[in-house]
């Protein structure tokens, strides 16, 4: 796909942000912040070897928050015409006349704005054309379909490539932005044997095309995963150890982040209330965020409020050492923002020594979970109950696939009962972890 002129696009968006900030001032805002974003991309899907869908994406957006004293108004538009922007600015200003005075609202403090903007190597446009994109998707899907005769059908393979420019500015005089790119290749196939039909997928995603995993490998892994699920059984209801495969263990880390995020804390809507400086994991657990990973999928030098991000440890020796705060939630809690407006950036847990096979031996008998279903997590109590599928393990060896079961427990207890984190960090995404072995959970089945 042709690279858009990111320098020209950046200059346009920067000008737009500055103009909109000035217009907000003219309409009476005492302070304001504006984020503008433009992206373009190509998505090519093949199914059963034939092109199925070609989508050309091209999105624009602008969002503005204005403050009239401590009154806030927000508006956004997905169309960047002069009329739409004018309408958005007026709407934000008029909304601010109706919202209540909120002593905690406002821009992040001026002295916290980022001042260093290292090149994190986030922009690697890919000049692949439609035929090239289709060829790669065909190769990926073919590898899956040729892998085993039990792969009988396909939902297709998709190659996505996209590039974007984002600019954030506020009335402290901070206006910065950067271009970025993201590419991915995914494949989803169906395995069939007798009455059993199972679908599974795999994918790769990266900032640069050269960092993507090989197309054939993605297809093969999708096929392996679908085949491994064939002829799944239910389990009898029982208590047993549970090994969360790395890609689903990442979800447990996300639940942790939700529980220590500012909005959950000030609403007292978390099972980790007042947990700062207390042990929430066994003492060998260390978790950090690093916004400065080169080509990192969530790397950035400043957050959604322009605040400088920092590499920091959230959990040290099992003890919770940091919250995840924006300037608003920080003020509500009488703390300092942690530069996390917009979320955490490249979270990772310190990996253990054991690979997946060694973890199976350590578990001896129990359940490996490879997929979770549903949203059954209560953020306030930590109560956890979700649909699951995976494998039953005895004597450290996988016995058979299992499905149509649930696993349940409480996140607070599950974190404390973490037995080991593996070294098998082998899935795509910005959150890095190996598989998690949890001492015991309730498995419901027959």
């Amino acid at each position: 796909m042709k690279a858009f002129d990111h320098k020209e696009k950046y200059a346009q968006l920067r000008q737009l942000v500055e103009d909109v900030l000035a217009e907000a001032g003219r309409q009476g805002a005492s302070s304001a912040e504006v984020a503008a974003h433009s992206d373009m991309g190509l998505s090519a899907t093949v199914r059963l070897g034939e092109p199925e869908t070609i989508e050309h994406t091209r999105d624009n957006s602008l969002s503005i928050s204005v403050y009239m004293g401590q009154h806030k108004g927000t508006a956004s538009t997905a169309e960047l015409s002069g009329e739409a922007i004018q309408e958005a600015v007026s709407a934000a200003c008029s909304i601010a006349k109706y919202t209540a005075e909120d002593p905690f609202s406002g821009l992040a403090d001026a002295e916290l704005m980022a001042t260093e903007f290292p090149d994190l190597e986030l922009y690697h446009p890919w000049d692949i054309d439609i035929d090239g994109a289709l060829a790669m998707a065909v190769e990926c899907e073919a590898a899956a379909r040729d892998y085993d005769p039990r792969i009988t059908n396909s939902e297709g393979a998709t190659l996505n490539t996209g590039q974007a420019v984002g600019v954030y500015g506020n009335t402290h005089g901070f206006v910065h932005g950067y271009p970025s790119s993201r590419h991915s290749l995914s494949c989803s196939v169906i395995a069939q044997q007798g009455d059993s039909m199972q679908r599974d997928y795999w994918y790769t995603t990266a900032r640069s095309a050269s960092a993507l995993d090989a197309a054939a490998g993605i297809g093969e892994r999708a096929a392996q995963r679908a085949i491994a699920r064939l002829n799944g059984r239910k389990l009898k209801t029982r208590q047993a150890p549970v090994l969360f495969r790395a890609e689903v263990a990442a979800g447990l880390l996300n639940s942790l982040i939700h529980a220590i995020s500012g909005s959950a804390l000030y609403r007292r809507a978390t099972f980790l209330l007042d947990a700062l400086d207390t042990p929430i994991f066994p003492e060998w657990v260390n978790i950090e965020e690093n916004p400065f990973v080169m080509q990192g999928l969530s790397s950035a030098a400043f957050d959604a409020e322009g605040v400088a991000t920092s590499r920091r440890k959230l959990v040290v020796d099992g003890i919770l050492k940091g919250y995840v705060l924006s300037s608003y939630s920080a003020r509500k809690l009488d703390l300092q923002t942690t530069g996390n407006a917009g979320g955490v950036r490249n979270l990772s847990i310190q990996m253990g020594e054991q690979d997946f096979a060694a973890l199976l031996k350590t578990m001896h008998t129990g359940l490996v979970v490879t997929e979770l279903m549903g949203q059954g997590v209560n953020p306030i109590t930590g109560d956890y109950s979700r649909g699951a599928s995976g494998f039953w393990v005895e004597s450290g060896e996988v016995q058979y696939p299992v499905e149509e079961i649930t696993i349940a427990g409480n996140l607070k207890t599950m974190f404390q009962q973490l037995v080991a984190v593996g070294s098998d960090d082998d899935y795509p995404g910005s959150t890095r972890t190996g598989s998690w072995l949890i001492e015991s959970m309730m498995i419901a089945g027959e």
């Binding site: 009329e83 909304i95 809507a269 349940a408």
Partner: protein
């Protein structure tokens, strides 16, 4: 209605009906079977109360056109947020690149008129003044706090949206729709000693904001959210394992949406990836079950005068007395399967491709008194409120998460239990329905359905029903 939409959506960009013909002519090469252009303009306003003050107000604008060209099973798609003719032509060039160019064909679209209105073509953003919207949120909060001193946090949202769409297709269709939507959500957190819990309630539909001021509906949501939170405060651990489950009326119909709804969408069945593929005419449910998808209910959240391809919505019987009768179709999948669209072609916005989606999906009432259904269970679960659900349409496995549930002991509803996920197999679960109540209810109007990254509003409903056995993901 078409004049209003043309005037507000097309005229500002200097577009007239003949330009639509021009764009479609341009799209149609000899290898293009079908093409359409979808124009959309939306406005949304949302207010949030928290900590006793309305601290947030958000206004958002969305406008653009999506252009699609279909050749056999292939689809080319492009969109633009600039509605001027040159941008449309450029997007059309991009979209039709899916097939080799050929002789252009001449197309003349004509107004096919909607012919009925399931909701007023009125902008709901203006149906209450801003001061009244804020006052309403405060009344709701005060009501929640009056209910019980253990209420510690109240978060209330009020959302109104106005969506104007116009679709012109190479099959000559030219239709438009004006779609209002309102929604209110109340979330409360209660605290008692070290225990904290939550309750939520929400409602809405394609109507005006007076929906929440009439008959104290907003206040009713506050009462219900607090009631639910207090029930959860005294909930005990849920049981683990298989047992009979009685599902209450209304929102628990999310069971149908997950267990069978998605599996009966045309695309999955055309491709043979659904657990229901090739089972038309077979028994897939107990004879007590008749399930329909119905986009024609007045003012309902999932209703549409026409779908996003300009097809009039209808009531489609999916399962009749236990037998699989129909799939939900959009134009593309219908034509490939040799049937007609059922008016289920929906898209999240102009920037997304349409696909077969549900509207309002529900089970018709049976004959049983709900009390008799509960009385028939010796030991089981009575679940009346749910969070979200999810389905794997290929294996048929689905889950939905109970947020308010009780034990049934010796035919009586007794102790509340904590939230738990229920899991089952779509093609099996309706065969296990042994009793269906006479109390059909539709949900309050809060459903959002996600598929392939696209969200659309939907409705669900059902009478009280008994499933002989389901797996409950509790801890004891």
């Amino acid at each position: 209605m078409l004049e209003i939409v043309e005037q507000q959506l097309l005229a500002p960009a200097g577009l007239e009906q003949r330009h639509l013909d021009l764009v479609l002519d341009h799209l149609m090469g000899h290898q293009i079977d079908f093409a359409d252009v979808y124009f959309q303009s939306s406005r949304l306003e949302a207010w949030t109360l928290e900590d006793g003050i309305v601290k947030e107000g958000v206004y958002s604008i969305e406008q653009g056109a999506g252009i699609r060209a279909i050749s056999g099973e292939k689809t080319g798609f492009a969109y633009t947020d600039e509605l001027q003719l040159p941008n449309l032509i450029q997007a059309a060039d991009t979209a039709r690149a899916i097939a080799r160019a050929g002789q252009n064909r001449s197309i003349a679209v004509a107004d096919k008129g909607v012919g009925r209105q399931l909701y007023a073509a009125k902008n709901p953003l203006d149906t209450l003044s801003r001061s009244d919207k804020i006052a309403l949120l405060h009344q709701v909060e005060q009501q929640a706090r009056r209910e019980d001193p253990r209420v510690q946090q109240v978060i209330a949202n009020l959302i109104a949206a106005y969506d104007m769409v116009l679709v012109a297709g190479s099959d000559g269709v030219l239709r438009s729709d004006i779609r209002p939507m309102v929604r209110m959500n109340v979330h409360v957190i209660v605290e008692q000693g070290d225990l904290r819990e939550q309750g939520t309630a929400g409602a809405g539909g394609r109507t005006s904001l007076e929906f929440f001021t009439r008959n104290e509906r907003g206040l009713e949501l506050a009462r219900d959210a607090v009631r639910q939170a207090l029930v959860n405060l005294r909930a005990v651990d849920a049981p683990a394992g298989a047992m009979p489950v009685v599902l209450g009326p209304g929102w628990p119909g999310v069971l149908l949406h997950e267990a069978i709804g998605h599996g009966l969408e045309g695309d999955f069945n055309r491709k043979g990836t659904s657990a229901f593929a090739g089972r038309m005419g077979e028994r897939v449910a107990s004879p007590l079950c008749t399930v329909v998808d119905d986009g024609t209910l007045e003012n309902r959240r999932g209703s549409l005068n026409m779908d996003d391809e300009g097809t009039t919505t209808q009531q489609t019987v999916l399962i009749e007395k236990g037998v699989l009768k129909g799939y939900m179709q959009d134009k593309h999948n219908a034509s490939l399967m040799g049937v007609s669209s059922t008016g289920n072609g929906r898209r999240e916005s102009y920037a997304h491709l349409p696909m077969p989606r549900m509207t309002n999906t529900y089970m018709l009432a049976g004959e049983q008194d709900p009390q008799e259904i509960i009385a028939s269970v010796e030991k089981g679960l009575y679940a009346v409120n749910f969070g979200g659900g999810q389905v794997d349409i290929t294996s048929g496995k689905f889950v939905f998460s109970a947020s308010e549930a009780y034990l049934i002991e010796n035919g009586k509803v007794t102790t509340p239990v904590k939230g738990a996920t229920l899991i089952g197999n779509g093609p099996e679960v309706l065969n296990l329905v042994s009793m269906v109540g006479n109390d059909l209810e539709l949900d309050a109007g809060i459903g959002v359905c996600g598929k392939e990254g696209q969200s659309v509003p939907v409705g669900v409903g059902q009478p009280t029903l008994k499933v002989d056995t389901m797996t409950i993901g509790g801890t004891v």
